[in-house]
Point group: D2
Chain length 483, copies 4
């Protein structure tokens, strides 16, 4: 079973006993919950598209471990071509779901842990790398969706883990045992946590000597004893509970986040990939963040494509396609969106092989990529709202459009171009609302801001990678300054 | 009864028979509907603040018509000082409600109709101005909230009113009678429509000879026969139906919009202020738009103040107050916000007296003001989201925080600065969500974009008012170009 | 002689023995030096325009000291109307000279010293204020141009004045005498220094207890013994030495800066306005900076008007007036320019009376004004370069256009619209070059950046004036946060 | 002689009889003229760096025509790796010269003519491609610098070539002869024209049926009979005539432009590559523009590196290295600069093979690249001016620093960090002035704007390449819209 279908994926989730709380309730069958299902559909799309011949090259790759064709989300990048194809796969999925499809975090974790464990072993003679390769084989053989989990709750950001009032505010090892470890803590903002078969845990930042117990990495099934998840609210989330789907905007797809709590969970030795070698925590974080900052140069571009298309469609339905300012705004949206894509491609094509043999991205350019992502989707959204017009936020509910009395007025007065059914206008405006204000704005805006690290985190890296001293030397050479 | 209290205002609404449909239902007592009440509270604040001595100067003025002290929202501006105080009143209300308080449209309509009717009468010997003065006395004596209604549905924007497939897509006179007129059509995006005692109708744009029947202005009680309203959906609107109010973000205040339908409504002669004098439609629109573009230099600044405060509070609760990038972002937010205020004040202080004696704003600067409003609140929002952090969109529902099982985890893991209760953090993050993605984002973002005219409308006015020919002449003089 | 003409002003300068060094030479008659004369012409325009009836209201005012009508540049602002008129006068002069006209620094120094001396006297029983009033009478009676001088060289910015390797890097009192003081040091970047009758010196920043000798303010004729000036280079400065003036761009007007050196200069007691009362140094700086940050909301707007006009003219000569993107860029330039003006007006209309009776501007809004000035002229310039086209920087010299052989080709191939002489095109392109890259770019760009304090100085003030605590309280009230 | 040294290049120029007029004079030995020499030095650097082993990979390539190692500027790109190396070579040269090094236009012309001639021959059975291959062999064998010349003077932009008042305003064939053609017209803004061995002419835009005589491409030695050049003025150009070089800013390197006039020049048949096949004019322009828009993602990035270094150095000399706002501005400059680089790399790595076998860039991404170049260097410049401080434009001439009297004051008062000689500060500030206001601002700013086509040209291409229809379809699929 190298490649599952989307349907098989959903069935596989049904077999799990994942504990999910949503708005105060323990969800029975989370795969059928109307608020959760759209995000499962998004992940399912990562399986379905991999089945299509036309996308084979972009959606799959031949595994360096098994020699089999695997879903690219489970692949260890073997070349800069692989890195570029990753970005293209993400753009494709962004286009097809207009959502966060959640499976990237696993892929980015695979690649960063793979190279880091190699280097830990090199230094300490440990066997983390072999263990991890076995884990990768398991993941690839079963075509699993894995939540690569990094972000700890963090408490007071001014204090180190061991200085916090509550020592669990960073996930940690509370007991070292012969056969494994016991961990406690939580991972916050976990995209796709609920829909994942497995969790692959990493530390949240560089760790000092005093924080060795926080320097831990391991994998674990999502329904292991001691794990529970609390579902995060999104803007307009409960519209999904209404009948009819026009007001939801994106009726089929969505993203989601959860707090994943680890209550003294046992992790067997063969699932541990870092355990106290604190100086490698920072390396791991930097690599994961690097890959993940690259990712945004693909996924958000795909979503941006859909938003640009929606704005163009809204303009058409309003009858203003030929206004020069409308055309110019669509050009600007395209320009910004492609600039993000350019950054995603550039950090890929400039990638280099790690000691372990897989490829990592160019760190400076990946940070530049993500920094732009913290800006341009906001401007693209603003332009989309400009083109859409105010009706996007003043339109009555779809129920009103179908109402025996007021339905008539809704249909009479909300017509634009008289050849286009009002329903089409409803759909496209709700789609734009969804991406700019609604549930998917969480993914398209706020996640663009904070996912893979907040803007300031990238700026720190840009400063570190920018080689200012070398640049000063250029000027000294050019002007003959001697010091 | 020159000045009502907020409570008296609410009671006065209860006496009305306004027909409001909301999500497919005719609302019984709209003043108590949990989705509508917050917007009523916002309007009520315009009454309550006028009762407070400390705000007397900004919230009230002495009427030139009655000689009585009236709510400034019912006042005809008598000086540039009045124009500035209008902006200050709006900033105050924005600060106190963090919402659209909906009563400005009436004030802006009063002032533009007042001066325009004077000029129509001057040309045609009509008596619109006297009629309107009487109406103003009625409004001031009863301290009414009036919806100044301009925007027609418009259908295909490429076609004039009389060219539309459905002639009603612009509101029009369908019958001229001895004692009045019969009108049909609708006004869209009507902010505060539901909460207003009266509707004061204006044409939506300049009208040509073929569109004389669309050149109409009149006033009418909101519950007159033939009028019905259909409530617009806002992002996260149905959160207001949940128990508890933390997740709403702004528990007390809000804004709203509705489609107001006029089904062959009779308007008696004494309530008509324009009826076929089509060349004045454009004048009226330009003046109203001018006043209303000024308004945004007050109200959105007040809301911005609250959003800046919230971001500062979120930073404090996260324990990052002293980070230089946080400080710098708060400065930038303040800078942008005050730039908007500067534009609001500038177009006020450069105001001039109309022929009718009231004051109008400087048209160029008011358009510049609004143009900035179509940009800066978006950037202020972006920066607020940056400072807030991702938790704003991944935090579980308030129900979870109070849940017997998961409540413990929510409270354990979402603590920031350990001295601040988690609930405070919840409140401030939900407040920011509300303004950037939620129900109030409709007012703070989309309304900033499209209210008082979309960005391109301002650009057209800036081009017209910018005196490019005079500027060219400067250069010819400076460089000695002769033509 | 309440009001001089421009010509009288120039004659009055000729009588002075001001020592000016320019490119290694002591200039004989600086009023006739081709590199200096344009800046004198700019100041002369401040005299000539004051003679014109149509500008009387904006260019002159009735002195509160003498009761005579004086040039507004010598006036102590008596109202917010005066503050607004100051800005309007500055815009007018910017339009008429497309340059820095240099006389504002004196006006801003007058007003800040006037109110500060009043408060020093109040505290210390000194008589600075009376002295200064006498000085103001002298200035007004003789219609003088005065260089209000603040900026010290500053050496290492990480060190206080008394910590510098060379104690003279901030201007200081080196001897206290019965009849006066001896001062040593320099003032850098002095706009208009060479063309001023007098110098009015202020400290450069707040001074601590250890820097009392640097807390000094006084006035002195520009040609007093011990003073010498070294002229600063500007971009393209020596083009002014060429024959013909088309390549200069702005053939008549310009600005200039100089280093003014004080070599143990004696200042008599009646010309001293601060001498060791160090806690008032900061007050004085803040007020002067405030006034001067307001100024930029006038002068740069006037220059911007000319640049917009030039861009429009260039478009016309290129035959592209009707291209929508050209129109849109002119709108954007106008929009940005008027936003600056709005800020200038706003901080004026919100001005308040000082204890001494003259008016000062609103500090927050004046800082916001200047902060925008550090950005928008750059964008206006960029758009002007966009519209102008590359010819602006590749056009041969005017000599070539008049050359017997190549002149023919220049005139043949650089024609645009065939009805416009090539010379007009030359003129307008050189004019744009002058403002964006040439001598006047120093005033329009770099001075916009650093004049009246660099951007960060404004940000510090915006932080201080922004009332973040009050804004936090708004949110606590709105959400019911109790602490 | 596959690879010349810089010195050999200069000697080779000396042998030519190129006719250059500069400020009204026919220049005797242009290689030694102080205003021209810096631009020759920049080109010479393209030869010298190719001699260095460490840069072999980036500066040279193995020719597909000769099998020899050639300078990459003479190379036909054989892979996306070649395309990327082109960008890296350009960044390197930008870093080493901080100037426009002028040799790119030839390289971009080679590659676009190579593939276009192949396609013309395919359609018409002509032999242009073989001719051009022979020409390429000649160029590579002799390591020539070639001016790829495209831009015609254009006259009135509203009129087609054949509609102009003067038919020569676009370069054209005035006579078809058995052995060749006679051409007349001019090429404007020709970067590096004077320093080139050869000129390679292309049409300036798509040509219609009526403009067949303007659809012409050929090569010709720069000193062929009938060709003359008129040198363009740059900001601060005549500073290069002064003694000492500090005030020039960049003492060794520069760029230049000229008008190249063709007075009935004879072109033999073997040097003609397009002659009336007008439908290929547009193809050729689009390809050349595409390559050249890619180029800016390399060269300007290199110059930006130097400007960032200079700003960092200026901050160091001012003693403000540790101020957080300074650090943040350097990060922002780096971020913007690397975004340009990312775009340059992205359009390269996405390149594709042409029918002729060489590689062309991705057209959409190349246009996105250049569009960013019309913006970011301006912002980088603005930030550099911010960091540099006002002294950059008020500093006296270097003569003053060396003057017996005022030199002392200059050296006393312009010291920053007391450990750094004033001369170093002079040098770095003049370097920044040079790039932001001076001679090199022509290359870094205006050329960034207009080189390879003005911003609107890129927007037209972005619109054309953006696949809006495909994007609309995405939304229809996602929301179930049927039309």
């Amino acid at each position: 079973m190298a490649l599952m279908t989307g349907e098989e994926y959903i069935q596989s989730l049904k077999k799990m006993k994942t504990k999910v709380y949503l708005m105060g309730e323990l969800v029975e069958d989370f795969t059928n919950h109307p608020m959760i299902r759209p995000s499962i559909n998004s992940v399912a799309a990562t399986y379905d598209l991999a089945q299509q011949k036309e996308y084979e090259n972009v959606m799959t790759a031949v595994s360096n471990i098994t020699g089999e064709r695997v879903n690219r989300f489970c692949h260890l990048h073997q070349s800069t071509e692989d890195l570029k194809n990753k970005v293209k796969m993400q753009r494709l999925l962004g286009q097809k779901t207009a959502s966060c499809f959640q499976r990237c975090v696993g892929m980015d974790a695979f690649n960063s842990i793979f190279s880091t464990t190699f280097e830990i072993d090199e230094k300490y003679g440990t066997t983390y790398h072999e263990r991890f390769k076995k884990y990768m084989k398991f993941v690839q053989d079963n075509d699993l969706t894995v939540d690569g989990a990094m972000t700890d709750p963090k408490g007071d950001r001014g204090l180190a883990p061991h200085q916090q009032a509550d020592l669990d505010l960073y996930l940690r090892v509370v007991e070292q045992r012969e056969d494994g470890i016991i961990v406690r803590g939580a991972k916050a903002h976990q995209t796709g946590a609920v829909n994942s078969h497995e969790h692959l845990i990493m530390p949240t930042m560089a760790m000092g000597e005093n924080d060795k117990e926080y320097a831990v990495s391991f994998s674990i099934p999502s329904d292991a004893p001691g794990i529970l998840m609390i579902y995060g609210r999104q803007s307009c989330d409960i519209r999904k509970l209404e009948d009819g789907h026009i007001d939801v905007g994106n009726p089929k797809f969505g993203g989601q986040e959860a707090l994943v709590v680890f209550n003294d969970v046992f992790i067997p030795n063969e699932r541990i990939y870092l355990n106290g070698e604190n100086e490698f925590a920072g390396v791991l974080v930097e690599r994961f963040a690097g890959y993940h900052r690259q990712s945004y140069g693909g996924c958000k571009v795909g979503v941006g494509d859909a938003l640009i298309g929606a704005a163009a469609l809204a303009a058409e339905y309003n009858g203003v396609t030929r206004a020069s300012h409308i055309k110019d705004k669509l050009i600007e949206m395209t320009h910004l969106n492609e600039t993000l894509y350019a950054c995603g491609l550039a950090c890929s094509t400039e990638g280099v092989a790690t000691k372990a043999g897989n490829y990592q991205i160019d760190l400076l350019l990946a940070n530049v990529c993500k920094q732009n992502v913290t800006r341009f989707p906001y401007e693209i959204s603003r332009l989309a709202e400009d083109i859409a017009g105010g009706l996007m936020v003043t339109m009555p509910s779809d129920i009103d459009f179908k109402h025996p009395i007021v339905g008539e007025y809704c249909n009479k007065y909300f017509i634009g171009n008289s050849k286009v059914p009002v329903e089409n206008r409803q759909k496209v405006l709700r789609f734009i609302e969804n991406l700019t204000l609604g549930a998917s704005a969480v993914g398209y805006r706020t996640e663009s801001m904070h996912g893979a690290g907040s803007p300031q985190a990238q700026r720190v890296m840009i400063a570190r990678q920018g080689n200012i001293e070398g640049k000063k030397q250029l000027v000294k050479d050019l002007t003959g300054i001697k010091e």
